[in-house]
Structures are given as structure tokens and as C-alpha cells.
């Protein structure tokens, strides 16, 4: 079958691409559009390294077809910073050294963003359950939790009253 034409909003910009049915959204992001921030750890929904936000919902881009993006609004790790300015979540991950190799980090940051958008002050239990689908094989999760807590506190403090 000929490639299909898909039009979506990616990180606030109109994006148009051609893809084959079996290409996942992750394949499209990395290999067609050139947004290589989202990582493929497993390709089977287990690790969360490919996490993106689609129409406000956190999903694994490896479990979504590229053709399903038609008409959708998608945020990837590349859309988290505001221009050159890191998002507070990214800043806190750096300050708390919540990464070693960094492979899981884009997914963790996108997942943390989706959590704080929905629940600005999560309890530790809520945050740990929310991130249960993001696996890190180097750093462990203690520093991630510290960074998340600190980012939540900073966002709350910075929020307009």
C-alpha cells in the first residue's frame, strides 16, 4: 500500500508526514520527522522511554501507529522546554542528578509533566504508581522522586496566585 499522508500538531507546530501502516508513532518521530528525543527501550509498552502526550493523555508512542496521529495534538520531550529555557522539571532532574545514562530520562520527564499537569501536588504513592511504567536501569527512582517533588514545589510556588 502506498504511504499515507498524515497531518498532526507536534510540539505546537503543524506537522505533515508520510508513513506506512506498520510504522509506529515512535518510528515516525525518530525516523521520519527526526525528533530522536523519544527513545525505544523495548518497543512493547513496558519501559516508557517512548512516552509522549497525545491529546492530553500520556501514551507509549511505540504502541500507537503513526497513521493514528491524524488530527491529533502531540507533545514530545522536544516540546517540554520553552525555547532555550529548560522546563522546571528538566532543571530539577539536572539539579538532583536524577539521571545517569539518560536513556529513560525523556520518558520520565514527559510522564512527570503529564502527572503535574493533572495533579500539581501528588503524594509519593500517587507519583510512584503514575511512573510505574517508566523503567530506569541505572539511577534508580529515589532521585527521580526528589526531582519530581522539587519540581512540583517550584511550579506551585511560581504559579500565578
Amino acid at each position: 500500500m502506498a504511504k499515507q499522508y498524515v497531518s498532526a500538531t507536534i510540539n505546537g507546530e503543524q506537522a505533515e508526514f508520510l508513513c506506512e501502516t506498520q510504522q509506529t508513532m515512535l518510528d515516525v518521530l525518530r525516523d521520519v520527522i527526526g525528533l530522536t528525543g523519544s527513545k525505544e527501550g523495548c518497543g512493547s509498552g513496558d519501559c516508557g522511554a517512548c512516552s509522549v502526550i497525545v491529546d492530553g493523555r500520556l501514551v507509549c508512542s511505540c504502541l500507537m501507529l503513526g497513521v493514528e496521529a491524524e488530527g491529533k495534538t502531540i507533545t514530545t520531550i522536544e516540546g517540554i522546554a520553552q525555547g532555550d529555557k529548560l522546563h522546571p522539571i528538566q532543571q530539577k532532574f539536572l539539579e538532583h542528578a536524577a539521571l545517569q545514562c539518560g536513556f529513560c530520562t525523556p520518558g520520565l520527564i514527559v510522564a512527570t509533566k503529564a502527572l503535574l499537569d493533572e495533579n500539581p501536588n501528588p503524594t509519593e504513592t500517587e507519583a510512584r504508581y503514575w511512573l510505574a511504567g517508566n523503567l530506569c536501569r541505572c539511577t534508580g527512582y529515589a532521585k527521580v522522586m526528589e526531582a519530581l517533588d522539587d519540581a512540583a514545589a517550584k511550579e506551585t510556588a511560581d504559579a500565578p496566585a
Partner: protein, 295 residues
């Protein structure tokens, strides 16, 4: 060269025509959390994918004649945010909530969980116990099928190749009715049930059970109804004698296999224990004692 086609029809008729007209294997796509994994591993090699999500009503929840109708492809996260479903069917909602991670919840659906037909599918014992009805559409129109008649074996269903599920109907709740679902896994998140148990009961003012449905997962080639376990509950309060009978009936119905998650003996024993615990939660909820989460 790729031969896999994709279509996202916007009406039931168009979807049925696509499925009927497909020359090779056609697969219906809801959230894709099973289908994409199987595509990638080569376990299924379809020629056509029919994405149903653009069909109006297939995502979303509405009230109809006092009951709830849940669109077949509604993501788990959407069902969990629905206060009405949570109040009426806490067991179905907690079972669906157990599927996968936050990311998987953003996509996974009741129809996909049922039609993937895994014996360990978490929402399925809860749907069986609820007495949910699948509204199946196909070339001959609509038919209503009790969910327990959908799975026929691991990975197999009773649906024709040109049929799919449009929505699920959850019946009207009599007073003092509630359901619960528990699964047993060796860890707290992200694992597949060793055994799952869904129980749905109605009780009178004194706590005597007047109606019950019990279903078990992961103890047979499909999720199973256990009428003997329901019979052990009906006409009784949940005292120790009733619990013992329920436990025995659940164990007698369990015909599991041994695998890396548990042996036959272990699964049978767990089936009884889980039935006890699940019944306790369902009865408490029905009596209005708690309405919290079981997990």
C-alpha cells in the same frame, strides 16, 4: 514492500463493509496495546487494520434507561474518571485500572481486553460478574451477546470475521448492589494475574445475599463463570460457613495450568482465597460500609 493497509472508517456500516470485503486477515484496532505488540513480534500478520476509534460513540460513556453504556474503545483512564461508573461498578473500574501503566491506561479498552481473549485479562472477570452485554455489529445488523459468550479459547472469540463490538451495556443496579475485583500477582504493579476474581452481589437490609455472580480468571483456557460459587452465596450472609463453601466452590472450578507464575496446586488454593477476599469487599460495598478501592 509493505502490504499492510489501514482504514479509519467513520460509520459502523463502512467498518463492517471493510471487514467483510477484506481479502486477507483484517484486525480491528482499539487502543493497540495488545495488537501492536503482536504486530511487532510477528504473532499476527494482518493485511488490513480497521481503526474503529473515529466511529461516533465508540469512545465515551452514556447513561441509558438507568444503566451505563461504555463505548468499546473507551480508554481505561476515561472510564476511571467517570464518577457514575465508579459508583455503580467499582469492581469493573478497579479491574480495568489494573491493566498496565499510566501510558497503557491512556489507550487500553474493555473490547481489546475481552477480544484479545487472554485467560488472565483483568477486566474480563469483572465484566463477566457484572453481567455486561456486548453490543456486536456486523453485516446482519446488531446483536446483543452476554460477555461470557465472547471468548472461546486463548486468543479466540465467537465473533465473525466481519463483526466487532460497538459498546458494552451495564445493567441497572438494584439497591444494595456492588462488585469487586482482585487479582493476585507477586508484585504490586505491572504484572499478569496468577488468578483473578470478580464478584457482583445484591444483598437485603440484613446483609443476606439475594443475587450473585462469580467469575475467575487465569484458572482455565478462558475466564470462567462459577455458578456453584454464586449459589454458595445466595440466601446467606457472608459468615464463616458461607465463606468456606465459596472457597470450596472456587477451588473446585479452577482447572489451571502450571507456568512460571504458579503451579496448579498454588493457583487452585489462591482461587479460593481470592474468592473469599473479593466477596468480603463486594458485600461491604453493597452494605454501604466502604466504597474505597480494593487496591
Amino acid at each position: 514492500m509493505s502490504t499492510l493497509s489501514y482504514a479509519a472508517p467513520t460509520t459502523v456500516d463502512d467498518a463492517v463493509k471493510l471487514l467483510s470485503g477484506a481479502s486477507g486477515l483484517a484486525k480491528v484496532l482499539s487502543g493497540g496495546t495488545d495488537l501492536l505488540v503482536q504486530l511487532r513480534s510477528g504473532r499476527v500478520r494482518p493485511d488490513l487494520i480497521v481503526d474503529t476509534k473515529k466511529i461516533p460513540g465508540i469512545i465515551g460513556i452514556r447513561e441509558e434507561n438507568g444503566g451505563f453504556v461504555v463505548g468499546a474503545a473507551t480508554p481505561g483512564a476515561v472510564v476511571e474518571e467517570h464518577a457514575g461508573m465508579k459508583a455503580a461498578w467499582p469492581g469493573v473500574v478497579e479491574a480495568l485500572d489494573l491493566i498496565g501503566s499510566t501510558q497503557v491506561q491512556g489507550r487500553c479498552s474493555l473490547a481489546g481486553n475481552l477480544c484479545n481473549a487472554s485467560p488472565a485479562a483483568d477486566s474480563v472477570p469483572a465484566m463477566f460478574a457484572a453481567g455486561a452485554i456486548a453490543v456486536v455489529v456486523g453485516p446482519n445488523g446488531r446483536r446483543e451477546v452476554p460477555v461470557e459468550q465472547v471468548p472461546t479459547g486463548p486468543g479466540r472469540t465467537s465473533l465473525g470475521k466481519d463483526e466487532f463490538i460497538l459498546e458494552f451495556k451495564f445493567p441497572v443496579r438494584p439497591a444494595r448492589s456492588a462488585d469487586a475485583y482482585l487479582r493476585f500477582i507477586p508484585r504490586t504493579e505491572m504484572d499478569i494475574a496468577v488468578v483473578g476474581c470478580g464478584i457482583n452481589v445484591t444483598v437485603d437490609e440484613k446483609g443476606v445475599c439475594t443475587a450473585a455472580r462469580v467469575a475467575l480468571g487465569a484458572v482455565a483456557p478462558t475466564v470462567i463463570m462459577v455458578p456453584a460459587a454464586a449459589a454458595a452465596l445466595i440466601g446467606h450472609t457472608l459468615d464463616e460457613a458461607t465463606l468456606a463453601k465459596l472457597d470450596a466452590a472456587a477451588q473446585a472450578a479452577a482447572k489451571p495450568i502450571s507456568d512460571k507464575r504458579g503451579t496448579v496446586e498454588y493457583r487452585i488454593k489462591i482461587a479460593g482465597v481470592l474468592a473469599r477476599r473479593t466477596a468480603a469487599i463486594a458485600f461491604d460495598r453493597a452494605m454501604g460500609k466502604t466504597n474505597g478501592k480494593a487496591h
